[in-house]
Symmetry: C2
Subunit: 583 residues, 2 copies
C-alpha cells in the first residue's frame, strides 16, 4: 500500500504520528526557505510542509521541482499548523515531510483542477479523466453510486430479484430507432441493443419471478436533443399479481426512501392527478408543483365582450405570477417578446396587474371593466400584488405556450428551488395518440400497455378516447419514471398490434414469442422504469444528466475522449458480412 492514511482524514488527534500519504499536487507555494504543497486525493486535501531547516536538503530540492498534478508519495510527521484553516477537515495539521517520492510526473493540465475551473465543456469532455478529479464531478459520481446502492437495497429488501436480461436481442423498429449489431456467426442477420428490457421483464413475469428489478443500460438511436444520451440507465421493475395501486404504492415507497436516505427529506403521500387534469391545470403532463400558478380558464368570463382576439380563440387561459404587479412596462414587454419568440410561438400576451389596493390595471382596459378583471383574478387565484398573464388561441398550442411561460416565470422568481422536492403521480394517460404524419395511432406508452377495462368498449369506436392503466412519476417538472399495467391476454395483445397498424405477420415476426408466452399461463402484471440519470441529477439538485455520467457522449453521439465511433478494418467488415455504403 502506498499510503497509511488518505488525504481527508488527518486531524489534531494524529499529531506526532508518522504517516505515509499519496496523491496529486493540488498546488505548491514556494517561499524560498519553506515550501507548502497541497496534496489531494479522492478524500480531501492535506498540507505538506518542506522547510529549509528541518527538511533534508535533497528532499527540499526535490520538492521545488513539483508541478501541479504530479503524483507523489510522502512520509512524514503530522504536526500542528501555525495558521489553522477551519474550512478544511484537515486544516489543523500539516505534514512535515521526511521522504518524497515522485510516482509520476504530470504535464500541465489543459484546465485547472479546481471546483470552479477555467475549462469549457468541450475540453473537459476530451480530458474527462481530469475533469473527474474535480470535486463537483467526483462528488456526482459518488452520489450516483449512493443512489444506486439505496435503490438496490430497498428493492431487494422488498423481495425483488435482480435479473440480468440480455443486451444482444432482436430489432423491433416500433418505437425509437434501434442500435444494431451485425452477427458474424449468422450471416446477414443482426442483433439489436435493447431500448428497454420490456419484453424480457414481461417474460420473467410469465416465468413466475413475480418481483423483478434491474439497473440496466438501454439504447436509443435518436437524434440527440440537448441532454439526451444514446445510452442511458434505467431502474427497470416489474411485478406480477398486482394492480396499478400496488405498483404506485411500491415505487412511491422507493422514492420516499431515497428522499429520506439520500436527502434527509420526509415527503407526504404523493398527490395523484389525471393526465387530463395535468394538461388543463399545468398545460403539461409533467408539472412542476413546487409552486402554484395553476391555469385559470377564462373563456366564460373573457369571451363575448368586444375583444376580438379572445372571442375568436378556442382557449383563453391565464396564470397569476405572484408578486409581479410591480413589473415595469419594459419588463412586461420583455416577457411578451419572450412568449412571441418562434420557440414559444404565442401571438401576444394580455396582462392584468392586481394592485395592492384591490384595483386592476390591464392591457385590455378598453374592453373589460374592473368587475370583469376581478373575475379573472378569482379564476386564476391572483392575489393583490400578482400579475396575471393571459394567452389565447388553439387550446393545445396555447396550453404548451402557457406552460413554458409558467416555468420561465417560476425560474425568474426563484421558485424552482433545487433543494425542494415535489413528487406526484400522473395517471390515466391516453392509450393512443394520433400521429398526423403516418395517419395512424401510435401507442402513447408502448404497445404492451393495458387499456382501462371501463374504456374497453371505446376501443373499436373511439380509440383516441381510451385511457390506459399507465402512470408517470413526476418530480420537480421532470418525468422520472413511467409504467403501466400490461396486457397479459394474447387476444387483446393481438388486437392492440392490429390497432397500431401491424399486420398479423409483422406482429408474429416481431413479438410472436411474447404472444406465444401469453398462451401458457401469463399472470396479470405491470411495472415501471425510472430514468436513473435524470433521477440522480434531480436528487443532486442539478439540471444536466451529463454531469452525473462518468463518460458521456456529446450531441453527435461521439465520445470525444476515446474518439468513438471510428472506422474499422475491412477485415472486420468482411467477417461481419457487411459493407460500408456511404452515398
Amino acid at each position: 500500500m502506498y499510503r497509511s492514511h488518505n488525504c481527508g482524514e488527518l486531524n489534531a488527534s494524529h499529531i506526532n504520528t508518522e504517516v505515509t500519504l499519496a496523491g496529486w499536487v493540488q498546488k505548491s507555494r514556494d517561499k524560498g526557505f519553506m515550501i507548502w504543497v497541497d496534496l489531494r486525493d479522492r478524500y480531501g486535501i492535506t498540507q505538506l510542509i518542506f522547510d529549509e531547516q528541518r527538511t533534508d536538503k535533497a528532499v527540499f530540492e526535490k520538492a521545488k521541482s513539483l508541478g501541479r498534478e504530479f503524483v507523489i508519495q510522502v512520509k512524514g510527521t503530522v504536526i500542528e499548523r501555525e495558521s489553522k484553516n477551519a474550512n478544511m477537515a484537515t486544516g489543523d495539521v500539516e505534514i512535515l515531510v521526511a521522504e518524497l517520492t515522485i510516482l509520476n510526473e504530470a504535464q500541465l493540465p489543459p484546465f485547472t483542477i479546481e471546483d470552479e475551473t477555467d475549462g469549457g465543456e468541450d475540453i473537459r469532455m476530451k480530458y474527462r479523466y481530469l475533469d473527474i478529479r474535480r470535486n463537483p464531478v467526483k462528488n456526482n459520481l459518488l452520489f450516483r453510486h449512493k443512489v444506486s446502492m439505496e435503490v438496490r437495497k430497498y428493492l431487494s429488501d422488498q423481495g425483488f430479484c435482480d435479473v440480468e436480461t440480455p443486451y444482444l436481442i432482436k430489432s423491433t423498429p416500433e418505437g425509437a430507432r434501434d442500435f444494431v449489431v451485425p452477427s458474424r456467426m449468422n450471416e446477414g442477420q443482426f442483433y439489436a441493443l435493447p431500448q428497454s428490457p420490456q419484453t424480457f421483464k414481461q417474460l420473467l413475469m410469465v416465468g413466475g419471478m413475480d418481483k423483478y428489478f434491474q439497473i440496466v443500460k438501454c439504447f436509443r438511436d435518436e437524434d440527440l436533443r440537448a441532454d439526451r444520451q444514446p445510452e442511458f440507465t434505467q431502474i427497470d421493475c416489474e411485478m406480477a399479481f398486482v394492480e396499478q395501486e400496488d405498483i404506485l404504492d411500491m415505487f412511491e415507497g422507493l422514492t420516499r426512501h431515497l428522499l429520506k436516505e439520500i436527502k434527509g427529506i420526509e415527503v407526504d403521500k404523493f398527490p395523484r392527478i389525471t393526465y387530463d387534469y395535468a394538461m388543463k391545470t399545468y398545460g403539461n403532463d409533467k408539472p412542476d408543483i413546487r409552486f402554484e400558478m395553476k391555469f385559470g380558464e377564462l373563456n366564460t368570463v373573457a369571451q363575448h365582450k368586444d375583444f376580438p382576439v379572445f372571442n375568436s380563440a378556442e382557449l383563453v387561459v391565464g396564470i397569476a405570477a405572484p408578486g409581479c404587479a410591480n413589473y415595469t412596462r419594459k419588463e412586461i414587454d420583455a416577457l411578451i417578446d419572450w412568449v412571441k419568440r418562434p420557440q414559444i410561438g404565442a401571438s401576444g400576451m394580455v396582462y392584468v396587474k392586481c394592485e395592492e389596493d384591490g384595483t386592476f390595471k390591464s392591457s385590455v382596459d378598453k374592453f373589460y371593466d374592473q368587475e370583469d378583471l376581478k373575475k379573472w383574478a378569482e379564476i386564476t387565484n391572483a392575489k393583490p400584488g400578482d400579475l396575471i398573464l393571459i394567452l389565447s388561441g388553439n387550446a393545445n398550442k396555447v396550453r404548451i405556450q402557457l406552460s413554458t411561460l409558467r416555468m420561465e416565470v417560476a425560474t425568474r422568481l426563484g421558485l424552482r428551488k433545487s433543494d425542494e422536492f415535489a413528487p406526484l403521480w400522473v395517471v390515466d394517460f391516453p392509450l393512443l395518440e394520433w400521429d398526423e404524419e403516418s395517419e395512424r395511432y401510435h401507442a402513447m406508452h408502448h404497445p404492451f400497455t393495458s387499456p382501462k377495462p371501463e374504456d374497453m368498449a371505446l376501443i373499436e369506436t373511439e380509440p383516441g378516447k381510451v385511457r390506459a392503466n399507465a402512470y408517470d412519476m413526476v418530480l420537480n417538472g421532470n418525468e422520472i419514471g413511467g409504467g403501466s399495467i400490461r396486457i397479459h391476454d394474447r387476444d387483446l395483445q393481438s388486437r392492440m398490434f392490429s390497432l397500431l397498424g401491424f399486420t398479423p405477420e409483422q406482429a408474429e415476426a416481431q413479438f410472436g414469442f411474447l404472444m406465444n408466452a401469453f398462451q401458457f399461463g401469463a399472470p396479470p402484471h405491470g411495472g415501471l422504469a425510472f430514468g436513473l440519470d435524470r433521477l440522480v441529477s434531480i436528487l443532486g439538485g442539478q439540471e444536466t444528466i451529463r454531469d452525473f455520467i462518468a463518460f458521456p457522449k456529446n450531441n453527435s453521439g461521439r465520445d470525444v475522449m476515446i474518439d468513438a465511433p471510428s472506422v474499422i478494418d475491412d477485415s472486420q467488415l468482411n467477417e461481419l458480412h457487411i459493407k460500408v455504403d456511404v452515398k
Copy 2:
C-alpha cells in the same frame, strides 16, 4: 393486490384465516367428490381443496375445468389437513376454497414444470419463460441475485464506488473479436461493445476515483466453445495506490465474505502459488486443489534404464490415484484408452500398483525393480493401495495430458465435491506468450499488464522470460478472477505496444487516449475482474454457467426464444450506411 399471502407461507398458525392466493395450477387430483389442486408461485406450493359438500356447486364445477399452468386466484379458509405432508413448508394446511377466478388459461406446456422435467435443453431454451418456473432454474436466478447483492455490499462497504462505464466504445481488435455497432450519425463509423471496461477503469484511476467496481456486461465475438456466451458478466474492479499484495488481500476478503455469507463456509488464507509451480505440479494454471494427486517428475529415477519410451521422453511424470491399486486390468485398460483418445493424445500410459503389503506391481516390471518403483512412489507421494499413473513425452504436452487425466480420475473417485471450496491464487504469470501462427509475442493477460520490476532487464533480450505482476484467483479448478498491476507510465506502455507488434501509429490510433492520460499524473494502479457467471455457478455447486443466466444464447450465439439475431429492414440498413454483403 391479487393475493393476501403467497403460496409458501401458510402454516398451522394461519388455520381459520381467510386468505386470497394467486398462482399457477401445479397439478390437480379429481376424486369425483373432492378435488385437490396444488397452487404454485415463486414462494412455494399450497394445497387447495374443493369439496362437493362444502364448496359452492359453480365453484366446484369450475375447479374441474382447471388444467396445468392455469393462472388462478382463490379466496378461502386455511384449514388443517387430514394427511399432513412434512416435506412441504405448507404441508400442515390446505385452503378450503370459496371463490375461484381463472385469471388466465394455459395451453399444455411443452414440458413438465417439475424439478425433474421431461424437456430437453433445446425445448427448454425455446420456452425459457416456462423453464424459469421450475425450481432449479428459479433458485439459480435467486441465488445469483443474492451473490450480486453481497458483492456490491462488500465492495461498497470497503469504499469502492460503482461507476457505470459506456457500452458504445471504440473497436480495438487486439484480443478477441469485437461486436460492432454502426453509427447512423457518424457515417461509415462504428462503435464497439466493450470486451471489458479495462481502459475506462484505468482512466478512472487517473481521474482519482481510487476504488472502482462495476457488475457489468462484456461482449466477445468468439466461436463459442461449450459454456461460453457472447455476452457475459464481470465483477470489474480497480484500485489506485496499491501493490499486488493489497489487491490480493482485498479480493481474497471478498471471496471469503461470499463463501461465508452465501455458503456458510469459513476458509483459511488462500494458498498462493506461482504459475511455474502450478504448471509443474498440476500441469495447469487453474489447479483443482480439493484433492492431492500432485505431479511427481520421474526423469531422474526412471530414465537411464532399459525402457526406451522413458529414455527418449523430455518429461516422465506421474500421479498417485488414491486407493486405486485394486483396479482390474480391464479398468486400467479403459483408462489407457481414455488418455489415448485424440482429445487427450497420450501415446500410452504406464502404471504402478502400490500393494497394501508394500510391494509394487507395474506394467514395466521388465525394466524396473522394486527399489526403482519405491522411489517412484515416494516422488508421487503414493501410499499403499494407490495406483501410480505415468505419462511421458514432450514436457508441455504431457503436462496437459496428465492434468486432464488427474481431473478425470478425481471425478471418477468423487473427489470433486460440489460443496467443498478450495480457492487459491496463482501469481507470477508470464508477461508474454509466443504465438506460433503470427510469429510474435502476445500479451498473456492484456497489453496493460505491468512487468515485474526485477524482470525488466530481460524485456529486450528474453521477453518470453519476463514475469508479470499478474494473478488469477482459482476456485475448484476454475479461473474465477484475474487481474494485474497495470502500467502507468507512458513510455513503458509505448514499449509494450511495440513489443506486441503495434506500429506507433496503430498504438496512437487505438490507445492514444490512454497513453495521453498517463502524461497527466497517472497513479500506480491495478485491479481484477471476476467472471460472475462462472463464480455463481461454482458457488451454486454446478458446472454450467448457462443454468445461472436468465436468457442464455446457444452455441451459435442465437437466442432461440426470441429468434435473434434476425434480418432487419433495408430502410434500417440505409440509415446506418451499410449493406449486407453475404458471399
